[in-house]
Symmetry: C4
């Protein structure tokens, strides 16, 4: 997919996008116990990123840091910052990244870990993702094993994504979901789509 | 059923009905990822309709267009506008149409696709629909296969409805639910009734 | 149980209790599609009662009527008014009655209809009901078959309650839940307790 | 675990923490039917504690009492006060205690009562608890049988906790969950983490 590159943003605008994503996820209870993190690309070098430990549901501008994508670790960066940075470094079209813990994504990520992938096929709502124009399709969402070494985890994720068909999210087993898009608004739409699709899959599996 | 025809409305009043339906559905998370669309009949020729791409949960008057029911496609019409227009053209008593993606409707639409119908029987809440005066009844909600050609899909739907007992909604497999009523208020009541009934059916099936 | 009789109330205070119950239930989505109804006893002769057709989640004082418990049907009374009146007539300690449609109560009412009773045993939250002082107990919630003749249904219900151990609610199969208490605040607490207990039962049954 | 002792608080600040916990739990429907209770340690002798019978979702300062941890029962103390006091007496690092009734905790507490413990293993969100630095771990949440004699129950609980690996909560079978932390904010984070983890466990068990 050749997607247009996101335009550079003022840091304040990028931070506003981070806050919008965090509040959206917080209202849905997708960032339990101060988990989750959110970022918006400022330009090719920098991104606005949630600081470690912040309550995402009540995020304010003071909780957003400006981090150098390829630079040394920001002192207030969360442990999962490398997973955000790696997405920006690997794909210039990524303008925003969200990490959330929804019940459906966490349960399914663990149930299908051995397969290394969750296949989602045939649902109309797949069209929420760019490049999908029909329900007669399937996406294969990579599932990677969880790892506390997030530099190593990020390298594994990017290796998997390089060898996968285009997709807008991946699962970390027993952990949660990463989602991205061209900007904060797109990442919000993709979070919403993934939650609906994975909740539907969870119900469908219960009837098997 | 010979139902009274809805009275012609000023466009602004029809648009207010569209917004009320969209906000109601948005609060319940039935329009994930900017999906869903809503319309209110203005008169026999025109309807107020949600524009393509709008966030239904935050819909404003600027997101509502005036579309000619039998006319050429409005430049801002969503891809699913033909499914709305076809309802107004086929049944003069239809004053409002809502399309939503609830978890229960989407999961059940796919589970029962092969039967082509979802039978809902014996629940008191069936009385929420006009013409139903006792729980000792059943409605048969048509299920049609999903189709990206919405003109063709609309024709199939109307063919099915012409040959069905009176009903106030249909399911598109793996996609979602269409609902209608004499006006926006009725369509809201019918969305609410379908969600309750389909959620109850989903739980009942899990015990089988 | 010899319970103190509820004190007579001014109609406006009784109506305020009706509104509080309706809003509480509305926020929880327990009155889908304008279903449900609520009443508070004014004195031994009258009760404040929701009028037919009102949207309970947005109930206002204009939607509350003063109905004579043993009198002729009030012109704006809902079809289910006899089920409220019968409770007030049969038990002078009843000060408020709520009728709601929760998913768990409706699903379980139908699943256990053949037994005529739903037994709820061993949960701490049973202590929410007056007269229950330990979890080492069980309540037997009567289940009656649904009937559109609500006078006949009310007679059957009261017959069942007369022959049951004390309880603060009953189920109508495929329909919903009736709950009562000494006043509106008590009925709200009992709605909340029943919803929790029945939702827990629903989950427990899914593991069997 | 050698944890820092919580600093003494003014009673008003401790009460504010109690109210924050109660409102957080109330919004999530974890204190149905005026159940649940919350406390914050003032110092080694006193704690701020919810009074009996208060509606926790609408708790105000007037509903918070100052109770002596090792003293005689406060006249407005709830029946479960001994379970709070015992935690403060046994562990000087405990600064806040929350008792809630979530659906998942109540259902699982009863399902696993015979084992006396609920093992939660491998989830990333376990890191919400102090001392947990990797998902490659398990916590064993004690389950004690319910008992209306809360002094006896508190003694049993503390005996179990003394012989358990460090944990930040326990379950009372068919009753609910106790959770604690260094302060109100920590107890809120731990409630949120337990609810997510137990809900995920409930879904995982349904697929077995």
């Amino acid at each position: 997919m050749t997607q247009p590159l996101p335009k550079p943003l003022a840091f304040a605008d990028a931070a506003a996008g981070v806050i919008a994503m965090a509040h959206f996820a917080g209202e849905r209870h997708w960032v339990p116990a101060t988990s989750g993190n959110f970022s918006v690309r400022v330009d090719q070098r920098f991104a606005a990123l949630t600081a470690t430990g912040a309550d995402k549901a009540r995020l304010t501008a003071a909780d957003v840091i400006e981090a150098e994508i390829a630079g040394p670790k920001h002192p207030r960066a969360s442990a999962e910052a490398p997973l955000h940075h790696a997405r920006y470094a690997a794909d210039a079209s990524v303008g925003a990244v969200a990490h959330i813990h929804t019940v459906a994504s966490t349960v399914l990520s663990r149930r299908h870990e051995a397969q290394g992938v969750l296949r989602i096929a045939g649902w109309e709502l797949l069209k929420a993702f760019p490049g999908v124009t029909t329900h007669e399709t399937a996406i294969e969402v990579p599932i990677v094993p969880n790892d506390q070494d997030t530099e190593r985890l990020a390298a594994l994720v990017e290796e998997r994504l390089k060898n996968s068909a285009p997709v807008h999210g991946y699962l970390i087993a027993g952990h949660g979901l990463y989602v991205w898009g061209a900007g904060a608004k797109d990442a919000i739409r993709h979070m919403d789509a993934f939650d609906f699709l994975l909740t539907a899959e969870l119900h469908e599996e219960q009837a098997r």
